[in-house]
Every structure is written in structure tokens, then in C-alpha cells.
């Protein structure tokens, strides 16, 4: 009986582009299994963790006043321990599966990217760029080598691994090209700013550009810049975008804290998607200040993240959402989600009355891929549903303080 099938789609539905690694039958089957395993843990085991919390953890730890207290109490519960061990182990299996696919063809992928980007002015690398400590100290989401390590000259294998594996972690929730977030931003823009026609768009920490490609497609007349610190993701990103027929994105190796090569007010749309949580308390004000400086009058900045830990969010939910911070190498996730981002935006120069808030759901081809909006399974922290914290600059500058 598959009438009410609500599992992940087959990996073979994932969209192929010019940089997609080749996968064998077994490799595809491995991704299928891992997508199902993640889904199973979220749909069938995690609800049990909540029951365990309510029936045997909370009664012995009444009235916690912070999510860390809840997490530390959960750490002693056998079901939380097993769910955690399985979730961590699944991420490690996913990395191994993706790396096996991409490392065995690392040279072919490198050659392909090189051929597609050679002498292309839309790839601007800076080998002297220093890696910020939030990227050098730990490999985010247990991805060995992160976005930046190069195993061979001109390597793109890490980027390809990231690209093929998003399907697994989200059970296909981000759509055919793992770009549901980007499409979600476009949908939000078309609904909320229907007449907005940006001329120049910046994506900060855009990685291999999977969330900026839909934006570039939605605004084909705009010049789009995607900055990231990792050369492999940028090489791969340009080749990937070009192979998808998207020609208006330039991939630039730079740190979002210092974009001094761009003039004040030179972008009218600036976005960061699932990026701020991979930075630091020291970096964020600089990134926000840069985005304020770079924004043109009439423009909009959008930071898209999982929801903040508002006081009304139950501490149990906060503790589970924190899991990736402590156990999946997303160290800044926990601090970032408790910050008053509105205040940070104001401190960066935005007027409070010009802040922007909204909700974004992944937009996917629903005939094949699961829709976050219709899915009642909540894999806290990983569901394809996000919040926007943003700001606008009025067309006429507000009165300056005397």
C-alpha cells in the first residue's frame, strides 16, 4: 500500500546539472536509505523522545529555567541517548557516502569545473584570504574539510559532496536542486514586493549558490554577486550555475565581514540564507554593518534562518533545536538563536520601523518532493521552514541626528 506514502522521493528525482557527480545504482540506493533513516528518526523516534521527556525526565527535573538544563537532563535519558547516537551516526554515514561518490571522481569533477570556468571573469578567487576562526576551528555539520579544504589543486569535491548530500539530510525537503530556500525567498519577494526590480543583488555566504540561483533566475536583468570564503564552493557554484543556463552570477571569494571592495549603497537586495549561524558574535555585527552600508536607498536586506528562541518557544523545543549546535558541529547555532536580531539590525544602522519580518517555506516541485507546509513531521532545526529578519533603507534618508 503506497497510497498514503509520505516518505522521501527516490534520489533519482534529484535534478542533474552539469556538475552533478555520477552515481551508481548502489550509491543512489545509499542516499535513499539515509534519507529514509533521517525521516524515520524524525517521524518515529523523536516524538518518543518528547514522551520520555514529559514522563520521566521533566518530573525529576521540574521547572527548568534554561534550555541547557533541559538538554543536560535529556543527556541522561536512554531514548535521547539512542536517538542522538543514531542521528549523529546517520550524519557520519551521509558524509562517508557523499565523499565516496565525489572523491572517487574528484579529478574529473575538477577538470569539468576548470573547463567551464577557465578565464571566466565571473569567478574571482583570492588565495590570500584568511579563513575566519568560526570556519577554521571546526568542520560544520561534520563535513570533513568543510567548504574550503582542497585535497587536490582546484578541488571541488567538497562542494559536490555538500550538493549531493542535502537531499539526505532534509529527506528531499529542499526540492530537486536543493534550492527550495531560494525559491521561498523569491516567492516571498513576489508576494510582498511585487514591483521590486533589483539591479544588483548580493548573497553573503552563499556557498555553491544553490539558494541564489533561483533569485538570479527571478531577476534575470540583475547583476548577482555570491560571496563565500571557500574557493571549492565558488568554482563549483559558477560551473553549476552556468550549466543551468544562469549567466548573471559572479562568484567572489571574500569574507562577509569585509566587503570593502564594493561601494556604499551599491546593492539593492542583500540576502544571507542559513548563514549567520555559521559565524560568530564578533563577526555578526560586522556582517550586518556591511550589509547596511552596501544597501542602496529603497533596498532590502534579508537574513533567513531557523526561528529564534523566543520566550514563548518551549524549553524542550529549544533544547532539541540546539542539538545540531552541540552534536553536529554547528557551534554558533545555540548563541545565534538566542540573540535579539532586531536589536542587532538596529545597531547596524537600520531604523526599527524599517525592519522586515516574514516566514519562508521551501518551494519545491510538489508532485515529487515533500512540501514543508503540508508536513506535520517536525525535525527541529532542519525543517524547510525559516524566518526572515531583515531591514529596508527608505528611499529618502531619515533625518540624521543633530
Amino acid at each position: 500500500m503506497t497510497q498514503n506514502y509520505d516518505g522521501p522521493p527516490d534520489y533519482r528525482n534529484v535534478g542533474l546539472h552539469g556538475m552533478s557527480p555520477e552515481t551508481t545504482h548502489d550509491e543512489k540506493a545509499r542516499f535513499n536509505f539515509l534519507a529514509h533513516l533521517n525521516r524515520h528518526l524524525a517521524a518515529n523516534v523523536l516524538p518518543g523522545v518528547r514522551t520520555a521527556y514529559e514522563t520521566r525526565v521533566e518530573p525529576n527535573n521540574p521547572k527548568p529555567n534554561h534550555r541547557h538544563q533541559v538538554r543536560k537532563a535529556l543527556l541522561k535519558d536512554p531514548l535521547f541517548q539512542h536517538w542522538s547516537a543514531l542521528r549523529r551516526g546517520t550524519m557520519e554515514l551521509r558524509q562517508q557516502a557523499g565523499r565516496w561518490v565525489t572523491l572517487r571522481q574528484a579529478e574529473e569533477l575538477r577538470d569539468k569545473a576548470e573547463e567551464m570556468t577557465k578565464d571566466d571573469p565571473r569567478l574571482i578567487l583570492d588565495p590570500t584570504l584568511e579563513l575566519p576562526n568560526y570556519l577554521s576551528k571546526i568542520d560544520h555539520h561534520c563535513m570533513p574539510g568543510s567548504y574550503h579544504d582542497e585535497l587536490i589543486e582546484g578541488d571541488v569535491s567538497g562542494a559536490a559532496n555538500y550538493d549531493v548530500g542535502i537531499f539526505v539530510t532534509t529527506g528531499g525537503g529542499l526540492g530537486r536542486f536543493s534550492d527550495g530556500g531560494g525559491h521561498g525567498v523569491v516567492k516571498w519577494m513576489k508576494e510582498n514586493r511585487p514591483d521590486f526590480k533589483p539591479k544588483r543583488i548580493l548573497d553573503i555566504g552563499g556557498g555553491l549558490g544553490q539558494n541564489v540561483v533561483p533569485v538570479a533566475q527571478a531577476y534575470p536583468d540583475a547583476e548577482v554577486i555570491c560571496v563565500d570564503t571557500g574557493a571549492p564552493v565558488l568554482r563549483y557554484g559558477l560551473a553549476r550555475a552556468k550549466s543551468m543556463g544562469v549567466e548573471n552570477i559572479t562568484f567572489v571569494q571574500a569574507n562577509g565581514e569585509d566587503l570593502s571592495m564594493y561601494d556604499d549603497g551599491s546593492f539593492d537586495m542583500i540576502q544571507s540564507i542559513m548563514f549567520l549561524h555559521e559565524t560568530s558574535v564578533k563577526a555578526m555585527p560586522k556582517i550586518m554593518a556591511e550589509s547596511h552600508r552596501l544597501l542602496a536607498p529603497g533596498g532590502i536586506v534579508m537574513h533567513v534562518e531557523q526561528p529564534q528562541y523566543a520566550p514563548e518557544m518551549p524549553l524542550y523545543e529549544q533544547a532539541i533545536r540546539d542539538w545540531d549546535a552541540f552534536y553536529n558541529n554547528e557551534p554558533f547555532w545555540t548563541k545565534m538563536h538566542e540573540l535579539d536580531l532586531d536589536q542587532w539590525m538596529v545597531d547596524a544602522g537600520f531604523d526599527r520601523e524599517h525592519l522586515v519580518h516574514g516566514g519562508v517555506m521551501a518551494v519545491v516541485d510538489a508532485t515529487l518532493f515533500p512540501e514543508a507546509a503540508k508536513d506535520d513531521v517536525e525535525d527541529f532545526g532542519r525543517k524547510a521552514a525559516w524566518h526572515i529578519v531583515g531591514g529596508q533603507k527608505p528611499v529618502i534618508a531619515t533625518r540624521q541626528a543633530a
Binding site: 548502489d26 565523499r99 568542520d139 561534520c142 558541529n329 557551534p331
Partner: protein, 117 residues
């Protein structure tokens, strides 16, 4: 090939690994079990592909479900299963053999003995 994909695919990410279970050895066994479960699913999917392709060539799912091996093939299969189980459960066989030799010396003990003048 300048890199070893087999070795690098399973590389440890930067950042100390958390262990959740009270006994980390149990967690190690769990990790191995889940990897084996993964490979079983991979095999099952491959077999399903084979069966679907056969169906397009006239051998139906019913043919497969109702297949009864003739005696000689049944015995070959049985022998394979015996061998398979013997491999998997080798540790118990050896534990049981050891029951009858409670005073058996270890190699270390024998080594000490052999090292004496």
C-alpha cells in the same frame, strides 16, 4: 589518482566526537550495525531493480513469490545459509570450544614460558 577515496571518505571531521550511550563500545556496535543495515537496504534496492527488470522480460513477481527450489538447489541454498551463520556467529563457536579448556594458556602466557631459559 593522487588521493585515496576509500580512506578519505570516512575521514573524521574537525571537532571532537560526542558519544551519547553510557558505554561507548555499545555506540560503536550501533554505528557498525547501522552501516550494515544501510548496505542491506542498498542490496535490497538492487535486487528490486533486478526483479522489476525481469518482470519486463516476462518473469513476474508471482513467479518469484511462488518459486520453489528443487531439492538440489534447496540444499545448495541451505548449505550457503549454514556457512553464512557459521561466519557471523563464529565468536560463540569459539567461546563454546573454550569451555572445555578452562585452563588453556594465552599466547602471552606461552610467550613468557618460551622466553625463560
Amino acid at each position: 589518482m593522487s588521493i585515496d577515496p576509500l580512506k578519505l571518505a570516512g575521514a573524521k571531521p574537525k571537532g571532537k566526537r560526542p558519544y551519547f550511550l553510557d558505554n561507548p563500545d555499545v555506540e560503536r556496535v550501533m554505528a557498525i550495525t547501522m552501516a550494515v543495515a544501510q548496505e542491506l537496504a542498498v542490496m535490497r534496492e538492487r535486487l528490486d531493480t533486478v526483479e522489476r527488470l525481469l518482470e519486463s522480460k516476462g518473469i513476474t513477481q508471482d513467479d518469484i513469490e511462488n518459486y520453489t527450489p528443487p531439492k538440489d538447489i534447496a540444499e545448495q541454498r541451505g548449505a550457503w545459509t549454514q556457512e553464512y551463520l557459521a561466519r557471523i556467529l563464529r565468536i560463540y563457536q569459539q567461546d563454546i570450544e573454550a569451555l572445555s579448556k578452562p585452563d588453556e594458556q594465552s599466547s602471552e602466557e606461552v610467550g613468557h614460558e618460551l622466553a625463560k631459559d
